[in-house]
Structures are given as structure tokens and as C-alpha cells.
Symmetry: C2
């Protein structure tokens, strides 16, 4: 693979400009100071979960790997940097040869995380690692926020499938990444064709109110849709009068009608009435799909309603109140040279002001209780305690610049289901609460 | 221009897949029913502003024009639709020749809007217009949300410049659009190199805590930065002890030091102390830049503090609590044929459930009081009242498929400043309130 893969329906040549300018000015100054090649360890973590959330969901890792692989400075980009005088000639020359050659470890995609979890660890020279800050954070902060909302919605929905339909409520390319993250978090399908094209996620969709309004009578619209898409289609029944539309729908399609969609009103009440009417009309197998500003709470409130599937838009793609994940990318250890044998010195910002970090290259493990349920996120420096050796959370993702952990999207989706199932039961309570397991720090003697 | 222009640092060939599947299935059914060519009018509007907001800001219009121009179904896309059996061969053939050939009118970018404002009006055949729903809404819903937050921050900041630095908190390409929208809303610069490359927005950035931590002493880091970037650079002074860092910074750079940046702590308190210290050290011209989870309220609270510039990230790119704009794209009128003389029939969803629309092809004008201050958003169908003839808000953007309204990004930026200045004074109050002017509807006799 030699083109960037950002969740676009097309390839783009480079991810190198998804970068904040200060990364290049730091590089320039470090090259001049002779410190650019110091062996360094950066970690991605969050100081807290969004208010009230009990767990986070790692998503976007696969996109990060593509972005790192395609982080290259082509002549167009170098010309821009030269023209704007953002860096000098020496730095431009260094950038022209840039290929990430270090190692990346991380929580596998779909895994859950907690405050302080070292979700990603990037190791190499300061120069090669510092440049990746913005693109890595953009991807993980966005995708994990969507996946966390999706996971809550999926646990609220139980066995009923969730349809992602939020493309119109977010940036057109963020939408493609959101559909991917939603799938990792437990959604079944998406309305976004670009997400189907790019990631193979199953796509769905039938019609909007405009289609009914285009025709002289609702019956004409239903007829046209059934003739074209078959009796198994989903008819939208809330353009005019719902009861009349349901009657017409079954008249037109017969009891083989696939589903009706309700997009407004008191969904709990309307779903019960429509179910009763469908049953009375003999359309006992016709399903009911509801859509209309749903979030995890609305989904949960419909648990006892005769609803067969949920379509979710705005609240999914905006992270249900938490559109970003507050992950940061921090230098946690560095040597005084490029020598792989030079000792790593733990470093951390010390100034008071609520942005403390824990220095040192970290490992992480999830401690289980006797029943195999997670009881703590253990984060440490130095040697891993023997009893946690087989509970390590960080896996190799990139070795010597080569991606070693590609996987099809169903793998993180299944992994997330398993990881969530292993948390204490209160993890899936929707009410606000603390992280469902505490984070414990174990400080080793050495930061390396 | 023949490649898509989505605010990417690169061109992509088509925007046609930024589409919800139902648009294609509606097209397919309408082609079969013989209704696809009916002359139609779709409008973009919002039923309400985000809770407490007093005005909205139109942003993304320029990106919409590019997206419409590049909405093409190339062989790769057609192959995907065929393989997934989303449409039939007749529809594929129709799509292969797709070029939008209709007219688009809209509020010019940077203009303010209110509930019911017809922000964009798309006219053509049902078939050609229905396909554009998702991509138009994605762009306007995202970009307008960011611009609205930017505008509030800009009025809170007064004459002090705002730096956009949120790329790491949102999707990597949403970030580029966000920087653009922030500029329209009043920001001065961005840290995002992709936004500088793509839109020519001025970029800024110097260093992070990692740069200080990389070096053996803070003094070494400052020295390296000043030697490379000059005395006019901005030194980050809150890695260890702020007072010590400020002393070191002035020792290293002299009183010509450009600025210091403070990224944590009680910014009000710290800014006052740092200002006093800088003045005592003779660095009276050295500026103070603050960054650290700022929003419009935090900016306003620093109005009396000795701060020279604000860097804003998370709260900007997430719309300061309102990451999307709830705009919808609705069929409001249609004829019973393609004949341009066939009368347009106003249409609207009728079902109760809080999603009412107003049918008919609309005009909009802003009525001014005797002092020239806006006093109402007037939206109507039928003839425009004579007294509002020169207050029309909709301008032609696309005529017969050709974009007629491209403009450099400084134009909507200036337009926004003028439009906001024309609102009643309470528009820029940060406290929650109602839309600053009411929307009045004038119903004409004809929907055409």
C-alpha cells in the first residue's frame, strides 16, 4: 500500500499536512540544537473519561496505522513549507526523506480504556515521533468518541440492530470515519455509501418524506417504491397521517411488507399503535424501524416497545454529548542520544495547573478477579509483575516502521463485545458514574 | 476546476459517494414511476437555533459549490453500486451522465441566519436535486456550527486575535474545514498546516512541552528555540515553574522576546503575574498568549487580563457545546412535470410530531428599523413586498449548473463582521437567550 488511506472513498497521497505547525518548528530547533535524534517515547492517554462515562472505547487504530505509513513530504508540501518559511532548507531536506522508522505499541482497536491507559506508545527519535502528534490525536480523539457513544447505544439496544445514519450531521469525511467507529462499537449497518465503499460496511436506505411529497398521493409513492424495491422494502409512514399510511402500505405491499419507518412523534406510543394495526392487518412479520433524534437513553426507553431496529444520526456522530475524547500525546521518556543503549529518562510536565502527567515508558494490564471480571486497570513503569504477565494490554502495531497489525473491521468489533462483557455489570448502566474500574499505578525503579 | 475540492490538502475526483443510500433508491423508484423529472424545489433551513444561541452563521457555502460541481459517478463508484445491487442498470446509466444542471440560490457565506431562514434553495428536476441532500447538509451543518462558535469567541475577544488550534480534537479533515469556518467566523490564524496549504489561512506555532522536556534544562530548550526561530518567537513557560521560566526566557531572548505562552493554571491570575514580571524585567513589549480549554466564556472572563492573544482548540472544533446545526433539506414545492411553465405546488410534511415544515418556494429579507438595525427575518412565498425588495438575502450561487459565486475567503469573513454589526446589540451577549430577531412569515398566493 503506497497511498494514504484516511477513510476516504479515494486515496490521497500523504497525511503529512495533518500537522500543527509547532511540530515542524520544534523539529527545526531540535535539528539545530543537535537533540532531534534523541531516543524518545511518546504516549497517548486521557486524564479523564467524559463526565459520567464508565469506560472508553479505543477506535481509529487501523486508521492511525495507515496515516503513519503514508506520512510523507512530497514536493508540493515541501514547496508550501519553503514558501511560507515555516522551516529552513536543512529541515526541508530532512523532511524529504521522512519515513517513520520506529515502533508503535497500542491497545488493540475495540479494547476498552480508562483514565491513564497508555492507549498508544510511539518510540523512535524525537524528530520522527514529534511530527505524528496531531494526526494520531485527530484520529483517535474523533473515532474513539464515536465508538464510545455507539457502544452505549448498542448495549441499550440489546439484540435489535442499529443503523448509522448521521452523515448529514457531521463533516462529510468525518462521517465516513464515524460509520467505521460506529461499526466497531456495535452498529450493524450505515446509510453512508462512502463508508460502504471504503470499509465494506453493509449499507441500507429506502426513502425520505420528499419521495412521498413528490407524488400526487401517498399511495402512488408507496406503489412506486414497492414496484421498484419489492415488498421487502421499508415504507416511511409519517408524512401525513400514520394510521392511514400504515393501512395504505399494507394494501399496496400486502402482509409481506418488509418494514415501516416512523421518524417523528412519541415513538413509544406510535410504535405500539402501529404494531397493533399491522397485526390486525395480518402484517405480523412487518418490522418497525424508528428514527428521530435517538440517543442511548431514548433507545433504552423503547426497550419494551415493539420496535425492531433503530436508526441513529446526530447523537451518534456527535458522540452523544461528548464529540471528542481529550486524549493527549506526551513525551514520557527520552535518552540523551540516539544510542539504543542510552538509558531512558522519565520526563513529565511539572507545573501545577491540573495537567499533570506520569513520566516513564509504561506497560498496562487489566487485573481480573476470581470470576474473570476486570477489577483494575494497572499501569506501570519498570518490570511487569509476574501475575499480570498474561494480561498485557499493549500489542505491537508497528515494528521498525513496518505495520504489523492490520486486521479486518469485524475483528475490533468482536473484540469490543468481548472486552465490554468482561467489565463489571455496572459498566453498561447509562446513568452517570465513575469509571467502572479504577486505574492503579505501579512505579518501577527504571523508566526504561 | 475539474476535481473535487473538499478542503483537502489534495484533490479527490468525486463527491458523489457522500450520499445516503436512500437518495439513490428514491431516484430509482422515481425513474421507474416517471416522476424523476418533475421540477422540484428543495430548501435548507433549521427549525431552531441551538439552545440559547441568538444567531447562526452561514459557513461552508463555498465548499458546497465545489461539492456540487464535482458530484460525478465515475466507473469505480458505478461498479460499487452495481455490485451491491443498490440500483438497477437503468439508474446506473442515468447516474453515469449526472451533472447538476439546475439553479442554487442561497444566503451568502458569512451572513447570519435564524430559525426558518431558507439558507439554500436548490431547484431542478427531483432526480438531480434529491441526490445532493447529504453532501450539502454535511458541509453546512458542520461548518456553520464551527463558525457560530467562532463568531461568539471573536466578539468576546474584541480586538485580540484568536488562534485556531483544534485539529487534534476532531477528525483530521473536519479540522481543515473547521479552520476555514473559524476564519469566516473571525479567527485570525490556525495551527493546522493543511488549512494553510488548502485555504491560505495564516499558520502559526512554535513549541510544546515536549520540546522543553527533550532538553536537559529548560534554558537549553529556550536557547535552541531562540537561536532557530529568533527573538520574536513565543516561548512556552509552564513546563516547570512559570516565574523561573519567564526569568530564563527574558535572559535568553532579551526584552525583544516576542511572546510567552501559558497553557495551564488559573489564566487570569497567572497572566497578571507574568505581565508584572515581564514589565519588571524590561520586556514591556513581550506579549502573553493563553491557551488551555478556552471557550467564549473563558475568553470573556479574561477581557480585563493582560492577555494579547487566545489559542482555542477543543471548544472551537466541537462548536462550543453545539457540534452540529440541525439544518434539514426539504422538498418544499414541485410541479407535475419537467415543464418550466407547469405550476409549482407547495408541499410539506403534515404529520404531527414536531417536525412541521412550511411549504412553497421562499424568498427571505431582513427588515431594518429606522436606524438601520435588523428587526426581523422575513420569509415568504409569492411576491416580495416592495419595501423589502432591496433587503433580499438569497443570491444566485449556481445558474444552469454553473457556479457563479466564487469568492476569496476574506469576503465572507468581512461579510460576517458587517452582518453581525447590523444585529441588535444583544446579539453578542453570551448568556442564553432567544434569537435576537424574530422570524416572520408572509404567505403569498402562489408557491412559485
Amino acid at each position: 500500500m503506497n497511498t494514504a488511506d484516511l477513510g476516504l472513498p479515494v486515496d490521497v497521497p500523504s497525511t503529512a499536512l495533518f500537522t500543527d505547525q509547532y511540530e515542524l518548528t520544534m523539529l527545526r530547533a531540535a535539528l539545530k540544537a543537535g537533540t532531534a535524534e534523541r531516543r524518545s517515547v511518546f504516549e497517548v492517554f486521557t486524564r479523564r473519561l467524559p463526565n459520567g462515562r464508565r469506560y472508553g472505547v479505543v477506535a481509529g487504530t487501523g486508521r492511525v496505522l495507515d496515516a503513519v505509513e503514508n506520512f510523507r513530504f512530497d514536493p508540493g508540501v515541501l514547496g508550501f513549507l519553503r514558501e511560507r518559511r515555516i522551516v529552513d532548507e536543512e529541515t526541508l531536506e530532512w523532511l524529504a526523506g521522512y519515513r517513520f522508522s520506529g515502533d508503535i505499541w497500542g491497545y488493540p482497536e475495540g479494547e476498552v480504556y480508562f483514565p491513564g491507559s497508555p492507549i498508544l506508545r510511539v518510540e523512535g527519535s524525537f524528530a520522527e515521533c514529534v511530527l505524528l502528534e496531531t494526526v494520531i490525536l485527530s484520529i483517535l480523539n474523533h473515532d474513539s468518541a464515536i465508538a464510545a457513544a455507539a457502544s452505549r447505544m448498542a448495549s441499550a439496544a440489546g439484540d435489535r440492530p442499529l443503523i448509522e445514519m448521521g452523515a448529514r450531521r457531521t463533516h462529510e469525511l468525518a462521517a465516513v470515519a464515524a460509520a467505521r467507529a460506529a461499526y466497531v462499537g456495535g452498529f450493524a449497518t450505515t446509510s453512508d455509501l462512502a463508508a460502504g465503499f471504503r470499509y465494506g460496511i453493509p449499507t441500507v436506505g429506502t426513502s425520505a418524506h420528499a419521495f412521498t411529497l413528490l407524488h400526487d398521493r401517498e399511495r402512488d409513492a408507496f406503489q412506486a417504491q414497492v414496484e421498484t424495491l419489492g415488498r421487502g422494502t421499508t415504507l416511511l409512514v409519517d408524512t401525513y397521517d400514520v394510521a392511514e399510511a400504515v393501512r395504505t402500505a399494507v394494501e399496496v405491499a400486502g402482509p409481506e411488507l418488509g418494514a415501516v419507518r416512523i421518524d417523528s412523534g412519541d415513538l413509544l406510543l406510535v410504535a405500539h399503535r402501529v404494531r397493533q394495526q399491522l397485526d390486525e392487518l395480518g402484517a405480523t412479520d412487518t418490522k418497525i424501524i424508528v428514527t428521530s433524534d435517538l440517543d442511548e437513553y431514548a433507545i433504552a426507553s423503547l426497550a419494551a416497545a415493539p420496535v425492531d431496529a433503530y436508526g441513529v444520526g446526530t447523537q451518534l456522530v456527535t458522540g452523544s454529548g461528548h464529540p471528542t475524547s481529550s486524549m493527549v500525546y506526551k513525551l514520557v521518556a527520552r535518552a540523551d542520544s540516539a544510542d539504543p543503549k542510552a538509558p531512558l529518562v522519565p520526563v513529565a510536565k511539572k507545573s501545577s495547573g491540573g495537567k499533570m502527567s506520569v513520566g516513564g515508558r509504561k506497560w498496562a494490564a487489566r487485573r481480573l478477579d476470581a470470576d474473570g471480571t476486570a477489577e483494575a486497570e494497572v499501569v506501570g513503569t519498570g518490570p511487569v509483575p509476574a501475575e499480570l504477565a498474561d494480561r498485557q494490554l499493549l500489542v505491537p502495531l508497528v515494528r521498525g516502521g513496518t505495520v504489523v497489525a492490520r486486521e479486518p473491521l469485524d475483528v475490533p468489533r468482536e473484540r469490543h463485545i468481548a472486552a465490554r462483557a468482561n467489565l463489571p455489570l455496572s459498566a453498561t448502566q447509562l446513568s452517570r458514574g465513575e469509571p467502572v474500574i479504577p486505574t492503579e499505578y505501579v512505579h518501577g525503579r527504571s523508566g526504561s
